[in-house]
């Protein structure tokens, strides 16, 4: 077995040193009738060639995003990742290190976490950011619980523009934590009246921008009403690249900003691992979940970094912790940080413009097709299209023509009466040819 260095002689010698004559003597605490007599009913070991062949076959039974014109979004986005990123995150010292509990030999991890926190705070327009959550959706759940701790209330209002999976995660967590959670009806046109929901019993209001349907939302009036009622505004995003071009939630009065960071540095990976971004105002930092990295000095006065404010966390506070989170998204935060460092604000603004320009172009092309209409007044790189037919069926037909057209809203909101609505995303990776292929194929199936 290529991964196991001990030889039979080693094992025998070590057993002798330990003073037992058989390996099972070391398993003597397992009740003897529970100790397995036979190997599990699973295949025996395999060499690299065979494993690669088996897994390669499974990979080949899946159509990859790069192999077709690709317009699927709804919370995860196909973006270009500079080659440098994947090379660097595979450096052994990053890949095979642990949570930086021994700061003297983990300054590499700690420094990039500090850089990551700085980047996230700047992008969202907030005071402080943590060292990541698992992803946007779980971060959203944690944000709601954090608001409950701060306001000492337990009622959350979720906008109908919040990603349905995010709403489900919050709903599940709320039910289990015996908190109230009101989810407004799906809001394709961003026309909901959320202000009338806010009173002094509400802990927090959760609003996504760009929302699930792609609409940009002005949060200022909601923030004002929240604050007048002692409630917090939680702003959510699923497309972090939008922050290169649109007003950050922190400038619109958000108290907690949480979102998905996958678009910067991280591949689609069929849904994970991703990286949850989480930022807030300074005054709430001690109610924040997750790890935080802070600057300090060592015994010689040299600048360095450590995990700090750990008393909020489970390993110290146990049942009084702000969250149970432990492992987070380490390496995905590194990918984010490297990609963001390469972009800088100049590159980010440019790539965000390209996304928007491409989406505007596609929206124009699609709405020129008879029976097809774009529903959004505003959007960044994704918008909702009403089709003259069932969107899920049309997506299947287009897939058979090798075009991945987008996400039928009915897949995430079955029974919402939105079976003819399709979400279409368009990023910097889509070429004019891709858009042309989409338009032609759609015309053919309509």
């Amino acid at each position: 077995m290529r991964y196991l260095p001990l030889t039979s002689d080693d094992r025998a010698g070590m057993l002798a040193k330990i003073g037992v004559d058989h390996i099972d003597a070391l398993f003597a605490d397992i009740p003897s009738n529970k100790l397995l007599k036979h190997l599990p009913k699973l295949p025996l070991h395999k060499g690299e060639i065979e494993v690669e062949r088996l897994m390669g076959r499974m990979s080949a039974r899946t159509i990859s995003a790069s192999s077709v014109p690709f317009f699927v979004g709804a919370g995860a986005y196909k973006h270009h990742i500079p080659a440098t990123v994947d090379h660097l995150i595979q450096r052994s010292e990053f890949l095979t290190s642990y949570t930086p509990y021994q700061p003297e030999i983990a300054q590499g991890t700690l420094q990039y976490l500090f850089e990551f926190q700085t980047q996230v705070a700047a992008l969202t327009g907030m005071d402080v950011a943590n060292a990541s959550m698992y992803d946007g959706s779980t971060g959203c759940g944690e944000a709601v619980l954090m608001a409950h701790r701060i306001t000492k209330r337990s009622k959350a209002i979720l906008s109908g523009g919040l990603h349905p999976h995010y709403a489900d995660v919050v709903q599940t967590l709320s039910e289990m934590a015996q908190a109230e959670c009101v989810t407004l009806a799906p809001d394709v046109l961003a026309g909901e009246d959320i202000l009338s929901q806010i009173d002094n019993t509400v802990s927090c209001v959760v609003v996504q921008t760009p929302d699930f349907f792609g609409n940009l939302r002005d949060l200022r009036a909601i923030a004002d009403k929240c604050h007048a009622n002692g409630a917090l505004l939680i702003a959510v995003f699923t497309e972090v690249m939008s922050l290169g071009l649109i007003t950050p939630p922190g400038e619109m009065g958000a108290d907690i900003v949480v979102g998905e960071g996958q678009s910067i540095g991280n591949a689609l990976n069929f849904g994970g691992p991703y990286v949850g971004l989480f930022a807030t105002k300074s005054q709430y930092v001690r109610q924040m979940p997750g790890r935080l990295c802070g600057e300090t000095v060592d015994a010689d006065g040299t600048r360095g970094f450590v995990l700090t404010l750990s008393t909020r966390e489970q390993h110290i506070r146990r049942d009084k912790a702000t969250s149970n989170i432990c492992t987070n998204s380490g390496l995905c935060t590194l990918a984010f940080t490297i990609h963001m460092s390469l972009l800088g604000q100049t590159g980010l603004k440019r790539i965000a413009e390209i996304n928007h320009a491409n989406a505007v172009m596609l929206a124009g092309q699609l709405s020129a097709i008879k029976g097809v209409s774009v529903l959004n007044k505003s959007f960044f790189n994704e918008f909702a299209v009403r089709l003259p037919g069932n969107a899920a069926h049309l997506v299947e037909q287009l897939a058979s023509k090798h075009v991945m057209a987008g996400v039928p809203v009915s897949r995430l909101l079955p029974g919402a009466g939105l079976d003819d609505v399709l979400l279409v995303a368009n990023t910097e990776v889509n070429s004019d040819e891709d858009r042309q292929a989409f338009v032609e194929a759609l015309k053919e199936v309509l």
């Binding site: 605490d29 709804a74 850089e115 698992y134 994970g272 590159g347 980010l348 505003s378």
Partner: protein, 525 residues
């Protein structure tokens, strides 16, 4: 006439020079500023052409403020992050005996496979007909996990161990609710030796945590569990093998006591690496257990993530598993994504843990690991992990103190600081001195049930020669303590990129992000 003198070929006089260098660097040890201190606001390390003019659809919400993040060119980025990496210790650097964390070798085959386009370049919401291979990975992984644990179902989606705990405890809460006992059954028993995540998880979903004292031998007494269990007991959360490195020998009686009271048995599977192929949690009475794929099945720890925490469930809890889950039918693999859809298949899904379908990148790596090892290799790995830990124990028992006596342990061995009493050296000092010797320290001050804990988990990845050097090093350090050479410890590490850090300063006035000098000056005024 050519100059044939050339360069000197012997080192010359072996003088020592303690003068600081001009740069502060020491050969390969480089000081590296923050990226914000070297980057420029107008610089970018990517080349994208400006789009042709178009009519913006951003309403009035265009960003007016500067983001304030400088960029760097590609060579600068490369050098910056390579230098940072050189300040880190990883498994590939050396022995990483961090107890409870299972820092084993990460095969690069798994990295290669995870980057196959059919896994990495696939969107979670593509039509199901286009992702059959990805679903097959999930289905196959589930099969292996069920077979190895002897359990009936798997909820794959939890993102890490603690998230898996939450999932398992939610399934238990849902099962209790289905029986109409929510109002009365709300106490969770948690042994003092548990990971901090256990009580944090139970408290998060409003269970009342009742601690279970650990008996003299480091394990849980079923009689104590029986005396604490009653009609208000929702569950026990038990780590097995436990955090003292011991198998809970009365686990079956503990399970019986909990079940007799009408509660469920949640097992923390963080230490599953000790028993894969040797015993199955399902045979021990477990109702739910998370598995840290990043520990037992070797997906890289990556400096603290990403992980994955699938939860295996017993027959009783299986119907409550969250969405999504994969079904295999005659037509292929299908994905059940909503609670309504789940109920069509007779399930009562309690909800959803996360967007999309979980940590696919980790599933691929874990499955590759399993296929490579096979049933025989997995069992051998567990045996070797246990053998290595016991070898360390046997070779250090005469110098360091074992809180529960010199008896066999599982895949990690726990020492306490009794042997350091009155030496002027603490567990932390000892750990820091290990850094100078080129080792990552063991887990220290955990579990909390012993004083000054040192929890050593060598894993199966270490050769005998590597263990022998490690043991010899710890023996040398221990002798040094006994000789009273305290300075070797109290000031350590001396040779790491930085010395001991001032954590008090970091926590008293937290600096959690970089502020440019000018802005910092203005803020101070």
């Amino acid at each position: 006439m050519l100059n044939r003198q050339g360069r000197p070929t012997t080192p010359g006089d072996a003088t020592h020079n303690d003068h600081p260098t001009f740069t502060g660097n020491k050969a390969l040890s480089q000081i590296e500023p923050l990226i914000f201190e070297t980057g420029r606001l107008e610089t970018t390390g990517v080349d994208y052409e400006a789009p042709q003019s178009f009519k913006s659809r951003l309403a009035e919400l265009e960003r007016k403020s500067e983001i304030g993040l400088p960029g760097v060119s590609e060579p600068e980025a490369m050098r910056h992050y390579v230098r940072l990496s050189q300040k880190n210790y990883g498994i590939d650097t050396g022995l990483f005996p961090l107890g409870s964390c299972t820092m084993k070798h990460n095969p690069r085959l798994n990295e290669k496979i995870a980057r196959m386009p059919g896994f990495s370049d696939v969107h979670p919401l593509q039509p199901v007909s286009t992702v059959q291979g990805a679903l097959e990975v999930m289905h196959t992984l589930s099969h292996w996990l069920m077979e190895l644990t002897g359990m009936d179902a798997v909820a794959l989606s939890p993102k890490a161990g603690a998230h898996g705990e939450l999932c398992g405890m939610m399934a238990i809460k849902a099962a209790i609710a289905a029986k109409g006992e929510s109002a009365t059954r709300n106490v969770v028993l948690v042994p003092d030796s548990a990971h901090g995540t256990n009580p944090a998880t139970a408290a998060l979903i409003h269970f009342i945590v009742k601690p279970v004292p650990v008996r003299e031998d480091g394990t849980v007494d079923p009689a104590v569990v029986a005396s604490l269990a009653g009609p208000d007991t929702a569950a026990i959360m038990l780590t097995n093998p436990n955090t003292c490195g011991l198998f809970e020998k009365d686990v079956v009686a503990i399970a019986d006591a909990i079940h007799a009271a009408g509660g469920y048995f949640y097992a923390d599977g963080a230490n599953f690496n000790a028993i894969v192929g040797k015993a199955r949690p399902g045979d021990l009475g477990v109702d739910a257990m998370h598995i840290n794929l990043h520990k037992t099945f070797s997906t890289p720890h990556g400096g603290g993530g990403p992980g994955a925490g699938p939860v295996v469930l017993s027959e009783l809890l299986a119907p409550f598993a969250p969405v999504p889950f994969v079904r295999h039918t005659d037509e292929g693999f299908e994905l059940v994504e909503s609670e309504e859809e789940a109920s069509n298949h007779g399930a009562h899904a309690f909800g959803r843990m996360t967007a999309f379908h979980g940590q696919m990148g980790m599933y691929v790596r874990a499955l590759s690991y399993m296929l490579s090892h096979g049933s025989d290799g997995l069992r051998q790995a567990s045996e070797d992990a246990v053998l290595n830990a016991n070898y360390v124990r046997a070779c250090l028992a005469d110098l360091m103190s074992l809180p529960f006596g010199n008896r066999p342990c599982m895949h990690e061995v726990l020492f306490d600081d009794t042997w350091l009493k009155d030496t002027g050296v603490t567990t932390l000092d000892f750990a820091k001195a290990m850094i100078d010797e080129g080792y990552h320290p063991m887990t220290v001050y955990f579990p909390l049930v012993v004083h000054g804990a040192m929890l050593i988990e060598p894993t199966e990845s270490e050769s005998r020669a590597s263990l022998d050097l490690f043991i010899a090093t710890l023996r040398d350090l221990a002798m040094s303590v006994k000789r009273g050479e305290t300075e070797r410890f109290t000031g350590a590490p001396y040779h790491a990129p930085v010395r001991r850090m001032d954590e008090t300063r970091a926590a008293r006035s937290p600096i959690l992000k970089y502020t440019p000098p000018q802005a910092a000056l203005e803020a101070a005024e």
